[in-house]
Amino acid sequence: MEERELRALVGQVKAGTLSRRRFVRMMVGLGLTAPMAAQMLAAAGVAQAQPKWTVNPTKRGGGGLVKALWWQAPTLLNPHFANGTKDQDACRIFYEPLASYDPDGNVVPVLAAETPSVQNGGVAKDGLSVTWKLKKNVVWHDGKPFTADDVVFNWEYVMDPGTAAVTIGPYRDIVRIDKLDSHTVKIAFKSPAPFWAAPFCGAANGVIIPKHLFQAFKGDKSREAPTNLKPVGTGPYKFVDFKPGDIVRGEINPSYHVANRPFFDQVEMKGGGDAIGAARAVIQTGEYDYAWNMQVEDEILKRLEQGGKGHADIVSGGNIEHIQVNTTDPWTEVDGERSSAKTKHPTLSDPAVRQALNLLVDRGSVQEEIYGRTGIATANFVNAPSRFVSKNTKWEFSVDKANSILEAAGWKRGGDGVRAKDGKKLKFVYQTSINNPRQKTQQIVKQACAKAGIELELKAVTANIFFSSDPANPDTYSHFYTDLQMYTTTMTQPDPQRFMDQFTSWEVSAKDNKFALTNKTRWRNEEYDKTWKAAETEMDPVKRAALFIKMNDLVIQNVVVIPVVFRPRVAAISNRLRDAVQSGWDSDFWALAYWSKA
């Protein structure tokens, strides 16, 4: 996908021959994010669609209690300490960001009066600053007005290293925030920021806390703030009660800044238990109205849905189950570490072997037999299809092709049926975490590989250890001391720049950095590095999209990873609940103020 073709598509949307939603889907199919796609359209002057709600009440309240069930319970209510989505969601009931991302990736103003753009002068042409106009007459739950000072304070609060805020990511790129007047702030960036809607936007990083209650608790004292447990925000619900690890309750905010919202008088978010139980409580018995993150086999979901009280809502997000192919040698120790960047994998360094492996992963069967609606076969970690028509996938499963590729490259079958060349056998160790669908996937891949003369040894590690960050444990995914490994990587943030870090040469995970960096495959490619750097400062969204697609191509062509299934976000929603749409790019509660019940 070249820049020229992308421009043509944007033109089609502008002319009205291609629907906005379809364009966004295509871009997501290319490994881009919906917010990026929306940005491309905005830059071309295509008017942004406002989210539409099916119910538009004429008065506030009257809806009673809405009950949500999170099978992992929220544990804290300070958004700047909230790393897990469960905590971010709980915070989002009370706190709000300047803007949220809707399912199509649009930046929807919440505490901002309007979305900044180049056209309205909000976004500087050089990308060095963005100006946000704040909504007037917004008050905190304690009656104090919300002003530009609060926005500036949040940046200072997060940047103080003593605070140890997990939201720091996008704020590090800010050089200065000017308060232009009581309700206008200008954010200046260190270098051109193509994705300016990262700080102060979305539930994961952007939620704003009140200055007057937190200014005494910045830095090292951050833990002691009483407001950490009793949030005072601007959101549709006021805080009532919180028991960490159990329940959060809120009641209607009578002075909420959106007219006639919210509909429900109280909200309750109960946590704990397991995903299947949660699905049952919403879909089968109707005890609850909404449940998050249904990691439940599709077969079970379908059976529960027959009861008719609720359904599974499936939207695309950024999670991909993929297999990583090691580029270094995991079986030789150099300077006290295996999989050292100084080594080269003896057999996987042959492109033919990688190509063959790619052909041997039967994504179709994995989807059909294991994941169903909750895992869609994909070639697209990052893969660009050569033509747009096949808008998503172009993966192939062919044992014959794999065989002929290997044969042509000189890998001959030995007496045991395993191929070898120069005395080196095609025997690999394939690891993943213990999780039933993953073990089934391993089996499917193993069987196909056996037919092509590749022997796989399967290894399954307890999830607690596999995903731990312990630098002393050789079985973690970040050590990657095997030939192949499989897990789901999540791209929760709406801009892919940080996500694509994981293939740059300066991010190679190694002993020196306690295996904390993101490049687990240890793949290094100069062209990729250059493209990544170019994208970092490229202000034209279309050009930037083309750069990301190029990065995607590089990773897929070199078979650095083999995407398996794309895992959409699944929520269980009561059939009576209206407008509880998931965003895919933001918290499940991004539109909580607009929820209603039939």
Binding site: N83, G162, R223, D246
Partner: protein, 319 residues
Amino acid sequence: MYKYFLRRTLILIPVLFGISAVLFTILVMAPGDPFEELATNPNVPPEVRMNLRAKFGLDDPLPVRYARWVASMMRGDWGFSFVSRVNVDTLILQRLPTTLVVLGSAQLLAILVAIPIGTYSALRPYSIFDQIATTLAFIGFSLPTFFTGLLFILLLSIHLDWLPFIYRSDISGTGWRWYWEHIRQAIMPVAVLGLAQAASMTRFMRAAVLDVIRLDYVNTARAKGLSEGVTLVKHVVRNALIPVVTLVAIQIPTIFGGAIVTEQIFRVPGIGSLLITSILANDTPVVMAVTFIFSILVLVSSLAADMLYAWLDPRISYR
């Protein structure tokens, strides 16, 4: 007697130290990191995690960490949770009432079921009633609570739709409705725990009554013309209860163990479910505090059992 009590209490102190040292070492050496999620989130720079680890003292060597823990425990400071950053004592106090209510009612239910059934079985050994009671008791203690819990949910909540299967600690409403809702949601967890307890207790009660009922003083009581009821209550059951009471005391820690599982199944927000989530999140201070409380409970209840025994049966004396 008092000397004995004092001695046993003093022994508790080194024992608790030993237990805490072992627990702490195991917890610290176990794989996992409370800030693991930060490591897998590409949006959070690794410095944040390093910073948090340093701030919460996770990078210090084991003896230093243990000494710090003991020192703050001495001052009555239980530390704070790495995950919710709330003080551990607050977290536990928040959840203790729920656990006590559920466990207390379960225990009460067990006693109410076990004593009459056990006694009656012993009065008519090998009758049809006894056979049925024995069979049910065996089924009761061979089924683990996590299994009976799921069975109850499937039958009573899903199939019949009578009871809610998610326990809520805050129920709105006042007066009768409030009590009713609480009772309704507590039925299943209490029944699961209580019946499991009742099963073994029934067997115990039956054996104890069988032992007592053959004794001479029971015959004497009957011979001097006491009614069957008075004989039974005043002379048989009362004496048969002595071993049962100690059994109840000794079993308290076991009940807490069962509660951990039951709380998880029914989402009862007690300290058992707190323990499980904290273990999964590698939240060392909370795990440490809860397991420590459990071990204190074990020690204290075994001490209490010994003391009770002496008090109930004057023939036994400690020196």
